[in-house]
């Protein structure tokens, strides 16, 4: 049986489009609202990345930092995040969930406890921004044992040799960082160049679902239609901030945005 993440990719492939992955921060702008946002966007997105906010992020740009600080200020704790995931997963029309964050949050929870809790609440995958290969070898094996996808990251600076080793150790999905940038940067590399790198990765192992993230927005997303999946994060976080500033409902606005994103790649 395919795991829910692979299944989501397969479904998108059957519809001849890339899977749409969204990133929102747990607890932004409140626990309740972030859950509502997840429920609303799961009508259009295939896989939902849920950011675990951290206050010393070394790879996040301004938009995601703003969302994270907002969530932390509102008191979000690790256990609240698991609760949000669980509530979401028991709602109708739920989608696979990937938690994305920094290793210290896992380390403090205890790797084993963390994975137990992930399983219990229905987390399907993990992206740990600052736990690169080979440092992540042991933890990623633990994830696999617990049927949780550990998602390896690749970037334009990754050497060919590393690409091969990392792909070999990866699970069902890999994440290609499109360019040298924190999250939320403007796309500063041509789509063709990004796609060339993407194809290089696919050649190493065509069976791995490879998604592209960083710099993907309403403006750029349609240039990457021939891929396995695309991640949009900062633009959504920015939309939440904009809605709050304009005293509008972020749930409605974000849901509209994700629906548009989906249309652009369908």
């Amino acid at each position: 049986m395919l795991n829910p993440i692979s299944l989501a990719f397969k479904k998108a492939k059957n519809e001849k489009r890339p899977a749409l992955l969204t990133y929102t921060v747990a607890g932004d702008s409140s626990k309740k609202q972030s859950l509502e946002i997840l429920k609303a966007i799961s009508n259009y997105a295939d896989i939902l990345e849920v950011g675990v906010p951290h206050n010393t992020p070394v790879a996040d740009g301004g938009q995601i930092q703003t969302s994270s600080y907002r969530a932390i200020k509102n008191g979000i704790k690790m256990n609240d995040i698991f609760k949000i995931v669980k509530d979401f997963k028991t709602s109708k029309n739920s989608k696979p969930i990937i938690l994305m964050g920094y290793y210290n949050m896992i380390f403090q929870y205890g790797e084993n406890n963390f994975l137990k809790k992930c399983k219990k609440s229905g987390v399907n995958g993990l992206i740990v921004v600052d736990l690169p290969w080979p440092e992540n070898k042991i933890f990623s094996k633990k994830c696999k044992k617990n049927s949780i996808n550990f998602i390896q990251l690749l970037s334009p600076t990754t050497s060919n040799e590393r690409l091969k080793s990392i792909t070999k150790d990866s699970h069902d999905m890999i994440y290609y960082i499109s360019m040298l940038s924190t999250t939320g940067g403007k796309l500063k590399v041509s789509p063709n160049k990004i796609l060339a790198n993407y194809n290089k990765i696919k050649k190493i192992n065509p069976n791995k679902n490879c998604v592209i993230g960083f710099g993907i927005t309403e403006k750029t997303i349609s240039k990457f239609k021939n891929t396995d999946g695309l991640v949009v994060g900062s633009q959504i976080c920015k939309e939440i901030t904009r809605s709050l500033n304009n005293r509008q409902n972020p749930v409605i606005n974000v849901s509209k945005m994700v629906s548009k994103l989906r249309k652009k790649i369908s």
């Binding site: 010393t56 070394v58 600076t157 990754t158 040298l180």
Partner: protein, 414 residues
């Protein structure tokens, strides 16, 4: 966990960069793996390259000005009544603090690798000021990340950076201090590592930065060892080396050459920032038993909550105001080679008053923390104990704070 003899501590990490199997490492985004590996290869080669060492020593001697003085504080010794009190006046170095050694080495490395831009973090402003000086000297463009709160409280150094042509980029996130400046600097590097070199301002960050910085500041103890032998004919029987500890670069450099001595002969005392006496906040993770966590790419003892969010610190001294601590010091603590304690804001100010009253020496607020503990302990020691404090920064940068806290007369000269 064991400290090995005969091997530099910076080279005692394992293959993944962990000291004692658990401190340090490389908790970095994938994008930084390559530039970090490049820097590792470059540094591992150059640190044993005679030409490179010669070049380094040339700049250390002619430009930084080595050796810095090693002086007896006769009046203070008399006043305290106990051990002999000496100081290694590292603030003699060009620019006024030990941060110049690391900045110079990083610029030399950046030059050799063909980088045109160098970026760095700063708290007290010394790391930034020194990097701006070295960048200017070696023809590199320079960007300094600095917390908005620190920009306000360390204006003299900010002015110096700008005068040297550096871009000073204020950081408004989080507590707007050093921790946020380092995060922002690392983020900038993630986005620009193909063209830009990064200098981390202390013995913190991914393992290679810890090593380069420790290697650079070790100049301090190399000089001191020679000076001790010149002065006493040999390394005396009972020495106590007091040093303030923020990230840990000056203390590590002050101790490194004496690492293999028995601690009964050469004891290391690290003094962290205890913060205001009345506040629960502090910047003393080793003293107050903080748990191991990950900060800025390395595992270390760090102030954090139970979830793993990094906690805000508080200290009168911007240079010590950091929630984490070098993996090297975590290692020295757990192997019991060094002992760590803290001084409060008030104690540091008091020590500054005492030192400036009795001696012609103006330690900045950072080394004033070390003076505070040294003065207290020296009372109890015998006359043949040699207490040495690293006066690693000059108080000029603190004049605003000192004037506010102590009145005008404490800032009148320099």
């Amino acid at each position: 966990m064991k400290l090995k003899k005969g091997i530099p501590v910076i080279d005692q990490g394992d293959k993944l960069g962990f000291w004692g199997g658990k401190f340090g490492g490389n908790f970095v985004p994938e994008t930084l793996k390559k530039p970090i590996e490049d820097l590792e290869i470059q540094f591992n080669k150059l640190k044993n390259d005679k030409n490179f060492i010669r070049e380094r020593d040339k700049y250390f001697k002619n430009w930084i000005g080595t050796p810095t003085r090693f002086i007896k504080l006769n009046n203070l010794t008399k006043h305290v009544g106990g051990a002999q009190i000496w100081s290694k006046v590292v603030s003699d170095a060009n620019g006024g603090a030990h941060k110049i050694y690391n900045a110079t080495v990083h610029c030399l490395l950046a030059k050799r690798s063909g980088k045109k831009v160098i970026i760095g973090d700063t708290g007290a402003g010394y790391a930034g000021k020194m990097l701006s000086m070295a960048a200017k000297k070696f023809g590199l463009k320079c960007k300094i990340f600095m917390g908005a709160k620190d920009i306000k409280r360390q204006q003299p150094n900010v002015k110096a950076m700008k005068k040297n042509g550096a871009d000073v980029i204020p950081v408004y996130s989080g507590s707007q201090t050093l921790v946020d400046a380092v995060s922002e600097c690392m983020r900038f590097w993630v986005a620009n590592c193909d063209t830009t070199a990064m200098c981390v301002g202390s013995t913190v960050g991914p393992a290679i930065f810890v090593r380069i910085c420790g290697w650079s500041t070790s100049q301090i103890s190399r000089e001191l060892k020679v000076q001790l032998i010149n002065q006493f004919g040999k390394v005396p029987k009972k020495i106590k080396l007091y040093n303030c500890v923020g990230g840990g670069s000056s203390s590590f450099g002050f101790w490194n050459e004496f690492m293999d001595y028995d601690k009964k002969q050469v004891e290391f005392i690290g003094v962290e920032a205890g913060g205001p006496a009345k506040s629960k906040r502090h910047a003393a993770p080793l003293t107050y038993g903080s748990k191991i966590g990950i900060l800025h790419g390395a595992a270390q003892y760090v102030n954090q909550d139970s979830d793993g969010q990094i906690e805000e610190t508080e200290s009168i001294s911007a240079g010590l105001d950091y929630p984490g601590i070098s993996p090297l010091h975590c290692f020295l603590k757990d192997t019991k080679r060094a002992r760590y304690t803290a001084a409060s804001d008030e104690e540091a100010l008091k020590a500054y008053q005492i030192v400036t009253k009795y001696e012609n020496l103006r330690p900045s607020l950072e080394p004033s923390h070390a003076f505070s503990v040294a003065i207290k302990e020296a009372k109890k020691f015998s006359k043949n104990t040699i207490v040495i404090i690293n006066s690693c920064g000059d108080a000029y940068k603190d004049r605003g704070i000192l004037e506010k806290k102590l009145g005008k007369k404490y800032v009148k000269s320099n």
